[in-house]
Amino acid sequence: MRRYVFKRLLQMLPTFLGITVITFAIAHLAPGDPLQLDPESSRALSVQVAPPAEPLPTQYLRWLERVLTFDFGRSLADQRPVTQKLTEALPKTLLLALLALVVAYGLAIPLGVYQAARPRSLVSRALSTLLFVAYSVPVFWVAVMVLLFLTGGRGPALFPFEGLHSPQSASYGPLGYLADTAWHLVLPVACLSYATLAVVSRQVRASMTHALAQDYVQAARARGIGRRSILFRHALRNSLLPVVTMLSFSLPSLIGGSIVVERAFGIPGMGSLAFEAIGQRDYPVVMAVSTLTAVVTLLAVLGADLLYAVVDPRIRVEGPSR
């Protein structure tokens, strides 16, 4: 096992380096000066930053050296340490992505099991159609629609439309604060999770159906083991394997999707940070966000792979079949 972990980490090294090279190249090829501009009007200030005299490869190596010690330099825009900005933003994005993950898998598994157990029922068929359609509906559109119809734009103001807290939330006390945050998270998490929910539940249903048709299930049934026990004890356990593999796909797509959700719901996470930094040509932040996102994604994939290896011992010999 240790060897497998080591091997996977070693494999990730070139990927990581490749990503830093691309990031660095993009940031340094982009035209424009760092500036702050009122989008609509007024005298814009563009700041002439003296170009460093060093050649790009040297600059890259210096930057990489600092990155390895988690020093991303200072933001060109507000001169704060980039690390400080990241520590403000990353938890919000991770919170969103992880909550969405929990919600998606938490719902997908029972839904999938139900559909596999009663494939012919009306509810099951309606669910399968609904989930298929949901997979096709763009996230940002859903976000715009719920913002329009559920937050008071045109329709009842059931949910807050912006941010993670109410302005007065600091005075609510710990429980009230938590409830307030949860209330703000409902729509963003729902928007972020439904596509993953659709995909995962289909996978669960497929592998459950497959498992239920296997000999050992038939045998168990013949021995008179209860329906419930067959479903959860025998079939589910075996069909979770491919579902675990999906984790390594779900995480990157959730982290990627959070940029749209953050923009739509005004949540100051990594997505919003990256977006503004690029607009301001704030290269240190741009490079940091991109690198960090990639690292988080790589770690997530690694985690999923390891989980898979734990569940399925065969993997350790070969490497995951992706």
Binding site: L35, Q36, P39, E40, R43, L148, E162
Partner: protein, 562 residues
Amino acid sequence: MRRLVLALLLLAACPKKSTPDAGVSPELQPSAAWLSGQLPASALAGTPVKGGTFTMRVHVEPNGLNRMHDQQAEGTMTRYTVGPLYETLAELDRDTHPRYDLKPLLAEKWEESDDHRTLTVHLRRGVRFHDGSTFSSRDVKAVVDAVRNPKNPTKAIASYFEDIDALATPDDHTVVVKWKKAYFLSTRNFLTALPMMPSKALEGDFDTLAINRAPIGTGPWKFASWETGRALTFVRFEGYWGAPAWFDQVVIRFVKDETVAAQLWEKGEFDLMTRIQPAVWRSIEKPEAGNAWAISGYHRVMASENNYGWVGWNEQRQFFADKKVRTALGHLFPYDKVARNIDLGLEEPTTCPYFAQGPSCDASVKPLAYDPKLAAQLLDEAGWRDTNQDGVRDKDGVPFKFTFVSNAYSVKLGKLLPLLQEELRKAGIEMDIEKVEAGSYIKRLREQDFDACSLTWSNADPVQDDFPTFHSSQAGKSGSNFVGYRNPDVDRLLEQIREEFDDGRRAALERQVHRALYEDQVYLFLTNRPTLDAVKVGVQGLKPSLAWYDLRRAWRAAPPRP
């Protein structure tokens, strides 16, 4: 899903609030003052009371609050910090609209020598900074030194003070500035452009000064907290030298998204809502129950500002070198359609680069009219004819096809350009639109890498110098003459203006500049955009002016006893 969509559509079809209004109840009938954005006299009168929090919306979050740093000097925030938090040596006197004379603030008085090359400033005594230190001439010198230090990123503000020859501080309360040459704006710049900060706070690496995030000034409020992405809070400074402010706290909420801002405003979160979008301004006018919150809960404020939008044609391009072509383009601009559908009748057409309400604009200059026939004639005269019958005019074998570079985030341009494009196509001119995001936009303009562009110039002071914008020496990288305008007569006038200290004679010269610029159609002048704000009913004493509101004079009336 089909059911879900149906449900969404049904929701959409429902009116916003289900209460049917049988006749319009009186509190829903907006008054004439409300409709025209004039504050009622009652909102400015009454006996001030101390206490309460004042919350306002701001549409950008600054990078920092050191107003001298190039990346923190962005214009919008200056209004909200210089005055409440920082103070300058003098301020614009809001009671002298439209002249805006100088009024002493941290300076008690000042004298100019006869040759206008020496300025002596006598500082107010007994002024303390928020950190407890005493304000003195040492601090003035420190601020000027910081600005003029070539190592500091203060290029934008330093450009005003390039001509300082020497600065002396004979005693703690006197500052003497010597200028290399006489310039009509020197005194005004020196007194109003420099926010005073304690000299100690300016020591160290300018990029990472503590005051960039936690400013220290002499104003009636002092910095309390800055929650990134959300809000900036000031609290009353009890050691203020002048009459204390009424509000205990000032909270500046950063809300960039206009839709979100409008929604928060509707929830009553702001005592002052700023930058209301024209569409929102108009849509809350309908006397419906759904608009009661605005009609009876807020005073609307529409006030003139010193700004103007313009379309620039790059005169280095063969299409636009000829004045006739630029005039023709002016005649092709659908002013009425734009006013009706984009500006929603809220903006004033202009022909003038100076403050429209001041004496520097010649009222006899009339805007060009929308006149496609005249435009076609002018284009023909300029040699742009459709010789090959392909629907596009050409000259010397070159078709009249150009690209309009537009700032991707500008709402107004996004609407305006398709209209212009359609008009030009009818006149035989092909216009492409290239959207560039803000980062590259100014760079493109500065490098004159565009055929046509659009921008708004704005100035918080009615007294201004247009030398950087229109003098031929300012074309190219350093100045703001992006269109590459060159007219020796205008050059001479602009030079004369710089050395003219008599307000009347200077205004006369400026009117000449106005006439010449419009005659040359240096820009396609668009409109003055007014302030569109709203003040919560109960907040008293907020009077609009070019120098923004005077927060010191504002207070919240005690709610009427039940």
